[in-house]
């Protein structure tokens, strides 16, 4: 890949990850590399279509049933993958390479016919897949069925998995799509993609100070029940984000990838989810010395 091609690829990667972070200066830099306005426009349109199809795939719950064509020779891809930083040193950049997948060897074993390897893969990812599905469905019993569906679909398609993404990402997308399919069948009005104000429309009602250490005021099992009930009461689009970020402890970016959503949407929903859960837990953890208060400040 030439330096110019790398600059164009960086531009497209950033356009996908953080569109507001781009400015006219980025376009001027591409023009300085020799790209015409039409070529830059085509890059923007391609990135936009990729984003559109990602949203469409999430909403339709589609799982690929084909092998994507390979456009670059594998030796060329390998050479580029070794360039961890595509931009010049010190420049803002987005990595478009895939890090080494810790599941690679195990996946290869299963692809060679070693079925026990698949049990290892299920064991490694069981917690994340279960939490993803509880987060989407809000029903642990149904989530257990959906975990089974997810693993069966994964096995069914594993022969076509080529390692272009990490196995955990691929498996997570199957789980998300499985959960969305079930959610749509059960509750047609509930959607993970519903847009609208998250934090802007939310006003906290309970603003009395909490006790210093809430975990000392109740038993662990009581707190666990309070948290689980509070999380289950959240709308699906908030519940699943909180489940992946705060309970499964994925990063914001990993959560965005797992759900096929943008980072800004994840951040906005996460704060709203945390504030809603805080509101639910507050009556149990308010300091006994706190004065009764329902609203305060100019919130």
């Amino acid at each position: 890949m030439t330096e110019d091609e790398r600059a164009l690829l960086n531009f497209a990667a950033q356009l996908s990850a953080d569109p507001p972070g781009l400015s006219g200066k980025d376009i001027e830099e591409l023009a300085a590399c020799g790209f015409t306005g039409q070529q830059i426009l085509e890059t923007v349109a391609t990135a936009a279509f990729a984003g559109f199809f990602r949203v469409l795939q999430t909403e339709l719950g589609a799982v690929p049933d084909f092998v994507a064509p390979r456009h670059f020779p594998s030796d060329q891809m390998k050479g580029d993958a070794e360039n961890a930083h595509l931009s010049a040193p010190g420049e803002r950049h987005y990595e478009v390479t895939t890090p080494v997948d810790p599941d690679r060897d195990c996946v290869a074993r299963v692809q060679r016919g070693d079925l026990d390897g698949f049990e290892d893969l299920m064991n490694r990812h069981r917690q994340r897949i279960f939490r993803t599905l509880v987060g989407i469905l809000g029903d642990p019993d149904e989530a257990l069925d959906a975990v089974q569906d997810t693993f069966l679909k994964a096995f069914q398609h594993l022969s076509k998995f080529e390692g272009r993404s990490k196995f955990s990402t691929w498996l997570g997308s199957i789980a998300t799509n499985t959960g969305i399919e079930r959610l749509r069948r059960r509750r047609p009005l509930e959607s993970l993609d519903e847009s609208g104000p998250d934090v802007e429309g939310f006003r906290p009602r309970e603003v009395r100070a909490w006790t210093d250490d809430p975990e000392q005021s109740h038993s662990r099992s009581e707190i666990r029940a309070l948290v689980e009930n509070g999380v289950m009461a959240l709308p699906a689009k908030y519940r699943v984000v909180l489940m992946l970020r705060d309970i499964e402890q994925l990063t914001i970016e990993e959560t965005a990838t797992a759900l096929g959503l943008g980072v800004p949407a994840i951040k906005s929903r996460l704060l709203r989810a945390r504030l809603m859960l805080r509101e639910t837990l507050a009556p149990h953890f308010i300091s006994s010395g706190a004065r009764p208060r329902v609203t305060g400040g100019n919130l």
Partner: protein
């Protein structure tokens, strides 16, 4: 000077430790004068601690063993 609504708009980045230095200073100045937002930040942090410490929604070994057995049985049926 920022108000409580401005604070709410930036609170997510503040909790994640991602607010830029200048913004963080403004948020902390607001916190030093606003009891309501101070309580909000404190109780939200405690909410996060409670959520992460309790290990909620664990898939038990027994539940996983049952799922794994059913999956492996179906896979073996299909591959035989």
């Amino acid at each position: 000077m920022i108000n409580c609504s401005d604070f709410m708009a930036e609170m997510g980045n503040y909790l994640e430790g991602e607010a830029a230095d200048e913004v963080r200073h403004q948020l902390e100045y607001h916190l030093s004068h606003c009891q309501t937002c101070t309580v909000l930040v404190d109780s939200t942090r405690k909410t996060l601690k409670v959520v992460t410490d309790t290990g909620s929604f664990d898939l038990s070994d027994a539940a996983f063993a049952s799922i794994a057995k059913q999956v492996m049985d179906k896979i073996k049926d299909k591959t035989e």
